[in-house]
């Protein structure tokens, strides 16, 4: 199922070439004029004189062998250009995912297990932060923590691992903040709900100590919806990362995608789109697998809605 999604997505990405106004050559060149030799190279590389589906096939074949074409702007292999930037994006998304899982799920569990002042304040904060888009968060974070307080740098990548962590902290927070709120709320609701279930009563009636109870019956069962939501939320980070990268001038795939879109460097846009969509689909696949592992009632591939 997900493979089918991937295939269709690749088809759409490929087909974008033909949706562009004008002919494929002008799309590939981004409207620039090219010498005849370059045109011939493009025609050969993209098999432009053959039927549409054949072209798709060649293109797909190339892609699967790692050949994503050549950037018109920088005149380098798209694959190389992607490879040099992919770790920035991956690092950013991973960092944000870590924040979401640790803080989001953590807050949700604490809040779900202890009704009271802590819970109410968590509810209010998450209600507000769920509505803060990543770029707004970026602006505010830059203003407060970079400019006013000077704790973190405002822009750019770092040089080594530690300085990277410093540079990526504000972007990761900006990226994570609204997803964190959603995950925290869902976690809290799931923990509450599981705590009320009758099978928990059974365990209580048999004298199971409460710490065990919470771990083996409440949290273990709540893990099912929590993992699903966390997984889907993290998958959605992939697209929003582009916005954060631009706001913080990070040299990642997202920022490069946007720049290439502006300069109409179509091969790069196609290449990066493919990578991002694949990552999105892979993460969804992992969520499906985790769901089937956690819930023995469910067969693989049928994530209940």
């Amino acid at each position: 199922m997900l493979v089918a999604s991937l295939l269709v997505a690749s088809f759409v990405i490929f087909g974008a070439l033909y949706l562009a106004p004008g002919n494929p050559i002008s799309a590939l060149s981004g409207g620039r004029s090219l010498p005849a030799s370059s045109v011939a190279v493009l025609e050969a590389r993209y098999h432009l004189n053959e039927p549409f589906l054949a072209q798709y096939w060649y293109w797909l074949d190339n892609v699967l062998h790692g050949n994503l074409g050549i950037s018109i702007v920088l005149r380098e292999n798209v694959s190389t250009l992607i490879a040099s930037r992919i770790w920035t994006t991956a690092g950013l998304v991973l960092y944000a995912a870590l924040i979401i899982v640790a803080l989001g799920i953590g807050l949700g569990i604490l809040s779900g297990l202890r009704p009271g002042a802590f819970d109410t304040s968590t509810l209010v904060t998450t209600a507000v932060s769920a509505a803060i888009p990543a770029f707004v968060a970026a602006i505010v974070l830059i203003l407060v923590f970079a400019v006013k307080l000077g704790w973190f740098p405002a822009l750019g990548n770092g040089t080594d691992f530690l300085s990277n962590v410093r540079h990526f902290t504000l972007p990761a927070i900006a990226l994570a903040i609204s997803s964190l709120a959603i995950v925290a709320r869902v976690t809290r609701a799931s923990v509450r709900e599981e705590g009320q279930r009758e099978h928990v009563q059974t365990a209580v009636s048999r004298g199971i100590p409460s710490r065990q109870l919470i771990r083996r019956h409440v949290l273990r069962n709540a893990a099912i919806p929590i993992t699903t939501v966390a997984g889907i939320t993290i998958a959605s980070l992939i697209a929003v990362a582009a916005v954060v990268e631009v706001a913080f001038s990070l040299n990642g795939l997202g920022a490069y995608l946007v720049a290439s879109a502006q300069s109409k460097d179509l091969a790069v846009v196609q290449g990066i789109s493919l990578v991002l969509v694949t990552a999105f689909v892979v993460i969804n696949l992992i969520v499906d697998v985790l769901y089937a592992v956690l819930d023995p009632r469910v067969a693989l591939g049928s994530r209940a809605q």
Binding site: E198, Q201, T202, A203, R206, I208
Partner: protein, 347 residues
Amino acid sequence: MSDQAPAAAVTPAEATPGTPLLDVDGLTVRLPIEGIHRPVLRDVSFSLRQGEAFGLVGESGSGKSMTARAIDRLLPAGAQVKGSIRFDGNDVSALTGAGLRQYRGQAAMIFQDPRAHTNPVRRIGDFMTEALRTNLSVPAGQARARAVDMLTQVGIDDGERRLQQYPHQLSGGMLQRVMIAAALLTKPRLLLADEPTTALDVTTQAEVMAILDGLRREFGLTMLFITHDLELAAAICDRTAVMYAGQIVEIRRSSLLHDDPLHPYTAALAAARPDIAQTAHRLRAIPGRPLSAFEAPLDECAFAPRCPHAQDACLTAVPGLTETGGGLSRCVRTHELRGKLQVASDA
């Protein structure tokens, strides 16, 4: 429905003094309902002797399930409890921590809907041996062996295989048997069975009841059996209490409940059940609907509005429990109505 004591266990027919295993005295419970605390149990008192099977019968809202939960300390948060519950002489409400857990191992509860009461993501083996492994520190291997053994006793032969399965792979009847087996594993002294067969279909009901009854006698367990079915209680319990609107209205030897009821409500319950052996012209329903404890007025007999024998005296105060003919009844007219309550079945 014989009142002969079976050979395997001692079940005295009449209430005799002695140290009761479970003594409930003046139990009154109030729960927050829509923000206000309302009574769900009012002045409930009864005692169970060791080895006795005691039935608790009532319609929905009568408080019978709530009584069992109060005994096992499973009341919802915010519950206010007055009165005492003593298990083997110890005050149950004073127990905390390890003492409470130990008590819960001694007083095992069997619930109504086995599917809702088992964790769907844990295997049967885990469900059955959990209490053994955590509270009683029984090593896993030994616990499993005991579980398999107990499963055979409830009529499930391929225990090893079943231990590996998940609840959704078992039928309702089988799951209830598993629940009974699991409850018995901790060698409890008191069994609280809360409508264990209501959620099952009729043939399975009979099987499960037979197993429950048989095991109880074999292990000499004391049982509090909760049901809405008067005849079912009479079939396996030595004594039965009838509840209405959160109060006990009658306690009697089960065999006499049908033929010589002391309280008009009991008589009405017995008469309302369609008798397969008789031809009745119409079903005898009790007019009105059953009240919950918090709906009942505080200064008159709760059953009076629906009672065919009600008089003015019934509306002046809540009747106390009167002792008559070896049983207890909460009716001011109990002495004069004695013998006249079994309604003629062809009226």
